[in-house]
Amino acid sequence: MAHKNQIKTALLHLVIVLALLLSAAGIGYLLRGLGLPEANIVIVFFLAVLLTPLLISSYAFAILASVLAAFLFNFLFTEPYFSFAVNAPSYMITLFIMSIAALLTSTVTFHARRNERSAKERELESRALYALTNLLTDAKTFPEIAELAADTISKSVCAGAACLCFDENGKPEDSYIQCLPGQAVRRRTEDASDILQRLSDLDAGFVAGPVFYDWPIYAKDSILGLIRLPKEKAQRLSPAQVRILRSMIESTALAMDRFRASLQRIRLHEETVQERYRVNLLRAISHDLRTPLAGMMGTSEMLLGMTDSSDPRYSLMEGIHHDAGWLHSLVENILSLTRLQDGMLAISKQMEAAEEILGGAARYVMRHHLGYDIEVHAPEELFLVPMDAKLISQALINLLENAVKHTDPPGEICVSVEEDRESRSAVFSVRDRGSGIGGADLPHIFELFYTSHAKESDSRKGVGLGLAICDTIVKAHGGTIWARNRTDGPGAEFVFSLPLEEENHG
């Protein structure tokens, strides 16, 4: 069929060439009849040769026309007439120049035509691309983007194009959209692992499958989908078509990526809002707990003062007072936690005098646990450490209260801070002379709600919120915390270090 067409166009071109040359010959005779010099006839033939490439976009025919023109002129208009012999050698030169000129002009015309054609193609390309980009900006959903891309590619590059989307985990979806002329069809995806397998050893810009050629749509670091072209058609794509296909895939990738990113932003925002709500709720509840706790603690304290310590009611009231105190420290810790979660991205560090923080924490614990005398050691020089003062105070209070819990008064509890020049950090330490930490507990001691199994059936004492919060606070400061048993006798030691240099929490 194609072959036949080619013969047809060739014949048509030949007819055009012959018609042009015969008209030139006719005009030539007319001019000679009018007695005009031969040069004019040469010009007429020349004109015919020039016209050929304008009418026929074929190099071969342009050359054929110029050669034929030369011979025809020779045959009809040079003496001896109706023969290819030439008397005057000057005619040979005329003919030669004419041929060269014809060739040159036809080459130029041909180039011009070809440039024009590729310019037109480019314009079509960019118009199609522009249209696609425009459509994609308005797309509201991910499948809509896929359908628009498939549809546009189907219309402007290769009919029957399809688009298969990948989910956020990089897995192909169950079905894909194919745009056939006049209708879009949803088809079931073949074996997903097959597709992934083929993609993994991708080397050209596309993957050749049994039915489709697949062109991946890539985001920066993930795959968003595939543009699938029917195999036979894809094989016959011209370089220009491949070029436009690539551009279209590029803009589809951009649109899909943008869509995914904004979706993620929205989701992240929702999560933050929810988290903030939770934190605010927790904070409000903890705050409201303080007022009744103040009442309970104050009242039980007053009652204790009114009761003789040998009275059995005394120990009952002491129980109330103690429990209220325990609830209070829980509330304080929860408040620290909300403070921490709230500003997780940027805790506000300021240069604080380490001695003041130590002194404050020791004072607080001694006020709440009468009978203990806590030793405080700080460097001779003023030692400034970047920290959130409230949070580090809370951490020290937790460690000191933990020490108090495991040591009988007056105890031998010591809190200290010193500079570690080597690691550029401040090392805080709380030591007691209690029973130490059981080997089984040591690795878990900072875990949330970890309860020591070793002793104390009193479960309230064991709810390990205090140490877990120390861990969170120290980590939020970019520091580390650890616990060990003392080597210089019985007792435990809790140590944490805070970096002295401000690092970028990002």
């Binding site: 009242t299 209070h328 923080i357 405080v376 003023l382 003062a389």
Partner: protein
């Protein structure tokens, strides 16, 4: 204690706290009035000879800060703020508005009474005709007229700035002074809010007056708020 007839106004909307504070005050020989709202409090403040105000910042009908500001328009009575909020900014704001001291809920009755006694003592001192010239806390003594300080009877060598800081704390003995207030008083208004300089000055002063600067006997740190010269 019987001779103490100081009238204290307790502004607190929680009944339980109200009653235990009342009981504690009675035990200690103070007479008191109770108000459970800002409106109530204002009418007592206007009609009764109140000498000390114990004020909960979170009242049902108004912000406690408003009451502090209005009281300070006509009276220097000691104001002790009680608050369930632990936001440092609010504490500092209450102190800067004119409150003398603050307690964060929950607090013990012992602590509350100690603070009230300090405030009352302060009040007595102020009501004397001429400003006091010599103050003493523990082993630490300051003579304002002569600009001299003594520790255990020995004269201390303080720099002018250290002296100014210590004198300021002595004049406001027992009261929490906010960092901003101290900077304004010691360095002057235009100095800005360089807390670092105050920390350094405080560290230097403590090294001259405290046995262990990290476990101060005289000047204690109220973390995030300011400093207080302990009057106990």
């Amino acid at each position: 204690m019987g001779e103490s007839t100081h009238k204290i106004l307790v502004v607190e909307d929680d009944r339980q706290i109200q009653s235990f504070i009342g009981y504690a005050l009675e035990q200690d020989g103070f007479s008191y009035l109770s108000a459970n709202s800002g409106h109530n409090a204002m009418s007592f403040l206007i009609s009764e000879p109140i000498e000390l105000l114990l004020l909960d910042l979170g009242l049902p009908d108004c912000d406690g800060m408003e009451i502090i500001k209005r009281v300070r328009e006509w009276s220097d009575m000691p104001i002790i703020v009680v608050s369930a909020r632990d936001q440092d900014r609010e504490k500092a704001a209450a102190l800067d508005a004119g409150a003398d001291d603050y307690l964060t809920k929950p607090f013990s009755a012992t602590e509350l009474l100690a603070r009230i006694r300090v405030a009352i003592r302060h009040l007595r001192r102020q009501s004397g005709e001429k400003p006091q010239a010599v103050y003493q806390v523990g082993e630490l003594k300051i003579d304002i007229e002569k600009r001299l300080t003594y520790l255990q009877g020995e004269e201390l060598h303080l720099t002018p700035m250290e002296y100014n800081l210590l004198a300021l704390l002595f004049k406001n003995c027992g009261k929490v002074l906010t960092t901003q207030y101290i900077i304004r008083e010691v360095w002057g208004v235009g100095y800005g809010s360089d807390t670092q300089a105050l920390r350094a000055l405080m560290a230097a002063l403590r090294r001259k007056i405290e046995k262990n600067p990290a476990k101060p006997r005289y000047i204690v740190t109220e973390i995030g708020v300011g400093y207080r010269l302990v009057d106990e």
